[in-house]
């Protein structure tokens, strides 16, 4: 059967359960495609093909005996290498964790496996999820399936490229400042960052704990709704996970466009994107309006401060979280001459050898803003601006259901184009970081092409309004319909 690697999760699970195709055939088709094409993409850091095949056989046996393996029966998935999946290493794209074997499954991994999903492998990423191009991976860059001279975005670059290239029907990413949504936009797939607290982060290696969320990358909003239904919910292992009831995302998705109030932050949008990106964005907004959406002007006066706020808050938290990598309990330990001088020397040498340049940059910045004498001037000030940004969004949501912007100001850029200037790379996150600071959910959905490269539109919604987000995203899919296109690999 052909086309298995183009199918969505819901479609695959239905076909497998009705025995139109076996889970083994589906898994084999995906493994064959990875073996054939991933040399050019670089999406996977590790795989266990035999384990995946064995799981597929178990699913097939259960179905043959009349059992129901769950809503994701036999669906092949990939996991960003910052989230634990027992049996495969967790490297975080870093030399410092090169051989780390997690002793347990992350809660999301366990929930997806219990629902019948089959883990094919772990996906490449910017080291410790720090980056917007995947060029900060300590192992290899990822190439965009639409144009292999370009980046896939980051930090979940491997996750976005894998869905786009047909290597997995769904992948997991993590999003601290846009790391699911921006690569989804660059690779022409759907990326959802849930509300802070909607999905358990147990088993996710922490970057910035007040901002991190795990979410799905998929070929459609329908698949994102299905994935979130499985992943969401309270977890005793994560005190920040919410006990709120989980909405029926599938039902929310099918609501009509009519009556949906879409907020446009016209002033914030002046920061601007490339002309090609803005043209696709405006075209999509016009289509939503023609389909019955109400377009509302909103103001987010403090949103332009989000990047500066984000890089102070996120690096402060990162410098604290990454203190645990010291060569004692896990990971690399330096064996250089200098590291033998004593414990402190071993720490310093291990961390200098193990971390890459961007991670060191952020540890230094974060340690600086938390240090005595600078704490109030930088860190506390940023936390106060964070309050103002949250107030802006609360006010805006009084008059609209979702707010729309481009996901990224540009389409995928060339490998190497922005590596020389870290600040320029940070500025590319302008439209995505506010949602992390506020805690609200965000969705990137493909809305067109500019110079044959995918363009993503981002919706954000109030806390726990993922259903509204998916409804808006699904409307774009119905009206624009680009999600079905695939790169010619």
């Amino acid at each position: 059967m052909s086309g298995l690697t183009s199918m969505g999760m819901a479609e695959l699970a239905t076909a497998i359960k009705s025995r139109t195709v076996s889970a083994s055939e589906v898994v084999d088709a995906h493994i064959a495609r990875i073996i054939e094409k991933d040399d050019r993409i670089g999406a996977f850091l590790s795989r266990d093909d035999e384990a995946a095949r064995a799981e597929a056989r178990i699913i097939d046996e259960r179905i043959a005996k009349g059992g129901d393996p769950g809503p994701l029966a036999g669906v092949p998935i990939g996991i960003k290498d910052v989230i634990h999946a027992k049996g495969l290493p967790t490297t975080c794209g870093s030399k410092i964790l090169k051989q780390f074997q997690p002793p347990y499954d992350a809660t999301v991994t366990a929930r997806l496996r219990n629902a019948g999903a089959i883990v094919l492998g772990k996906l490449n990423m910017d080291e410790f999820a720090m980056g917007s191009s995947n060029e900060n991976s300590a192992f290899k860059p990822v190439h965009n399936p639409w144009d292999t001279t370009r980046v896939p975005g980051g930090s979940s670059g491997g996750s976005a490229a894998a869905v786009s290239a047909g290597f997995a029907a769904m992948t997991l990413g993590s999003d601290t400042g846009g790391s699911i949504r921006q690569p989804a936009s660059f690779c022409g797939v759907v990326g959802l960052k849930p509300t802070y607290g909607r999905v358990s982060r147990y088993g996710l290696v922490a970057f910035a704990s007040s901002l991190d969320q795990i979410g799905p990358l998929t070929r459609s909003c329908e698949d994102a709704a299905l994935a979130l239904s499985v992943m969401a919910g309270q977890d005793a292992h994560d005190a920040t996970s919410s006990g709120r009831p989980i909405d029926d995302y599938g039902a929310a998705l099918r609501k009509p466009t009519k009556g949906l109030r879409v907020g446009l932050p016209r002033e914030f949008l002046q920061i601007g994107g490339d002309a090609g990106v803005m043209a696709e964005f405006e075209k999509t907004i016009a289509a939503l309006k023609a389909d019955g959406a109400e377009i509302v002007d909103v103001e987010l006066p403090n949103a332009p401060h989000a990047i500066a706020t984000y890089y102070l808050v996120a690096t402060a938290e990162a410098s604290s979280n990454l203190a645990r990598f010291d060569g004692v309990r896990y990971g690399l330990r330096s064996d250089s001459q200098a590291s033998r001088g004593g414990l402190k020397e071993m720490y310093g040498e291990t961390r200098d050898e193990g971390f890459g340049p961007e991670v060191k940059r952020r540890i230094i910045l974060g340690t600086f803003v938390l240090s005595s004498g600078y704490y109030d001037a930088y860190y506390v000030r940023a936390q106060k601006v964070r309050t103002l940004i949250r107030r802006d969004f609360e006010k805006a949501f009084a008059s609209c259901d979702v707010i729309a912007t481009p996901t990224s100001p540009s389409t995928a850029f060339k490998l190497g184009e922005k590596t020389a200037n870290p600040l320029e790379m940070y500025l590319a996150d302008v439209f995505t970081v506010p949602a992390n600071l506020v805690g609200i959910p965000g969705l990137s959905v493909p809305c067109g092409f500019s110079n044959r490269l995918p363009v993503g539109l981002q919706f954000v919604a109030p806390m726990f309004a993922e259903g509204t987000l998916l409804r808006a995203g699904h409307a774009v899919e119905r009206l624009i319909g680009v999600a079905a296109k695939e790169p010619a690999l």
Partner: protein, 96 residues
């Protein structure tokens, strides 16, 4: 605006347990200057009576203070770079 020089970065690196080379220190001082210059844009904002926001959760959540032993000693040590007798082994801490 604070003066960011190689000496300050060296001090910060010591706090962060990073043994940076001279070249790394110098390059990071330049990066830090650029990023903090950009962050100066926050200085003009009126923050009178604005409380700091540290997280986005809906208030405190407590659980009973009960110890749960999910991790066996063997699991806890399985990734250790050096161990002896069921313990992590580290280089000498106190001078001898």
């Amino acid at each position: 605006m604070v003066e960011i020089d190689d000496k300050l970065v060296t001090r910060i690196a010591t706090l962060a347990h990073l043994s940076l080379s001279k070249e790394e220190t110098h390059a990071l001082a330049g990066d830090l200057r650029n990023i903090l210059k950009y962050a100066e844009s926050l200085e003009g904002i009126d923050l009178e009576d604005v409380p700091p926001m540290s997280h986005a959760t809906e208030g405190e959540r407590f659980r009973p203070d009960v110890a749960v032993h999910d991790l066996t000693r063997e699991n806890a040590l399985q990734n250790a770079p050096d161990q002896e007798g069921g313990l992590f082994r580290v280089p000498q801490v106190i001078g001898g």
